[in-house]
């Protein structure tokens, strides 16, 4: 009986795709697929020109890749890496965020100051939302009601109603905001500023900045500290911020928003993704052409895995 139960559990927790890791290689024009358990490279697959933003549907059936130089989003079967279809994205899509339900997809168009909203089922553009200059970072509230876009040159986080597609608030943050990340309970919004070198902690209810996290790494010149990607554990306890050419990931106490440690990863650390169980955090290192694997509980780098040329984005398949 016990054996059968174990078998049934194994079967339930190991579908074909469990914990596969997908890394977009901006210069290699491909995606490297890793096994999230063994950390071995499964394969490398062409995905169009200059792939950057990458995400996966909640059911794990569709992998979305911003093919920036093709001016569209390419959709792949994550299991076979065959292209299924494309989605219109507007010019130069860089980063996007998927509604928690899996539809629609909100895409930042860096060149024409728009956020394009695309229906992932009908493949139609639902809206084009004018935002600030050089829109870049995209985030969405856990309840799916608010989409955040950051504009690099206007230096704002725009709060967008995900249904009416109207901007209802703007928050001025530090120079060149790159990424927006909500805590899982929706009580905090973190916005990273690449040039400003800070992370703004915003209260989403009042749209006020409640704190600014700054970084100071012994032996590293301040201009090398460029916060980009950010991820927070679902219990809100640990926030990780990728610091670009400082080659470090900051570990931040999610309760106090104080920096606890800086982990040396690879060069030009850019975006990050957790495994579904949050055991590991993967970081893309654009200049050392590898992925660092961080043990989340131990707060240690456990491995670096060579991937393709200039890794940019990363997503892990859901369970």
């Amino acid at each position: 009986m016990k054996h059968i139960l174990t078998l049934a559990l194994c079967l339930a927790t190991t579908p074909a795709l469990a914990n596969r890791v997908f890394v977009s290689n901006e210069k290699g024009n491909d995606v490297t697929v890793l096994d999230g358990e063994t950390l071995e490279v499964i394969g490398t697959y062409p995905v169009g020109n200059r792939p950057r933003g990458i995400t996966i549907s909640p059911d794990g059936k569709e992998l979305y890749v911003c093919a920036s130089d093709d001016n569209l989003v390419r959709v792949f079967d994550p299991e076979t890496m065959e292209e299924l279809h494309t989605l219109p994205s507007g010019p130069d899509p860089e980063l996007f965020v998927l509604h928690p339900s899996g539809n629609p997809l909100y895409i930042a168009n860096e060149d024409d100051n728009l956020v394009t909203v695309v229906d992932t089922r009908t493949h139609q553009v639902l809206a084009e939302i004018p935002v600030g200059v050089e829109p870049e970072g995209m985030g969405i509230s856990p309840d799916g009601k608010v989409v955040i876009n950051t504009s690099e040159t206007t230096n704002m986080a725009h709060f967008i109603d995900s249904e009416s597609f109207e901007i209802f608030a703007n928050v001025l943050v530090d120079s060149r905001p790159r990424f927006a990340q909500y805590s899982a309970d929706g009580s905090k919004l973190y916005v990273t500023s690449e040039i400003g070198g800070t992370v703004s902690v915003i209260d989403p209810a009042t749209q006020q900045i409640v704190k600014k996290i700054s970084f100071d790494i012994p032996g590293v010149l301040p201009e090398a500290i460029q916060p980009v990607g950010a991820r927070i554990t679902s219990d809100g306890a640990k926030l990780f911020v990728a610091l670009g050419p400082a080659n470090r990931v900051a570990v931040i106490d999610g309760a106090t928003d104080e920096v606890k440690d800086y982990l040396l990863v690879g060069q030009r650390v850019w975006q990050m993704a957790f495994t579904p169980d949050e055991k590991y955090l993967f970081t893309t290192n654009g200049n050392s052409n590898d992925v660092s694997v961080i043990d989340v509980a131990a707060e240690k780098v456990v491995k670096s895995v060579p991937v393709g040329q200039q890794p940019w984005g990363v997503v892990v398949a859901p369970n």
Partner: protein, 197 residues
Amino acid sequence: MRSVLTLILALAAGPALAANGTDPDWPCIQRKQPHLSLGQIWSGPAPDEAIGDLAREPAIAALAERLEQRRLPVEEAEADIAAFAETADNARLTALMVAVFDRIEPERSALIAGIARYGQKQVELAQMIEDRRAKMAALEAAAEPDFDAIDSEEAALDWDQRIFTERQQSLTYVCETPVILEQRAFALARAIAGHLE
């Protein structure tokens, strides 16, 4: 003609892009980082004065000299580091790191300065092309055009445009060179750090 104009416009836009808190003369898409810092590649012991002295020891200096050469494949460099590490403690490993860094960093800084000069020269050349073009227009608009002068101006303009375009095409590679040095420094640091106790 049109493509040169586009290039000139692109060049004019380049420094504006880079101007985000950086040097307006910087021609690369990559943000200008005049200096590397040791902490970007090293999380081992922080070097103190004693380690600085150790880094000047002939055996360590000679190894650093060898490791820094880009023609030495990384695999061979790693093997050299492993051999050194057999008898080296953390202080000596850190000293080797300092010695390597003190060689790569000035080389990279010199490169960065060179790229800035390259960018300035392109801006000057773009201005010269504009001036020549204005002169051509004036010569052509004359009541009795001096065709010899127009021909010579046209030939000079062709050359300037060709040089400008070729230099512009090399810019992507030129801008990549500091990254190549950073990659080398990082790979060596990782190899050295791997032997820390």
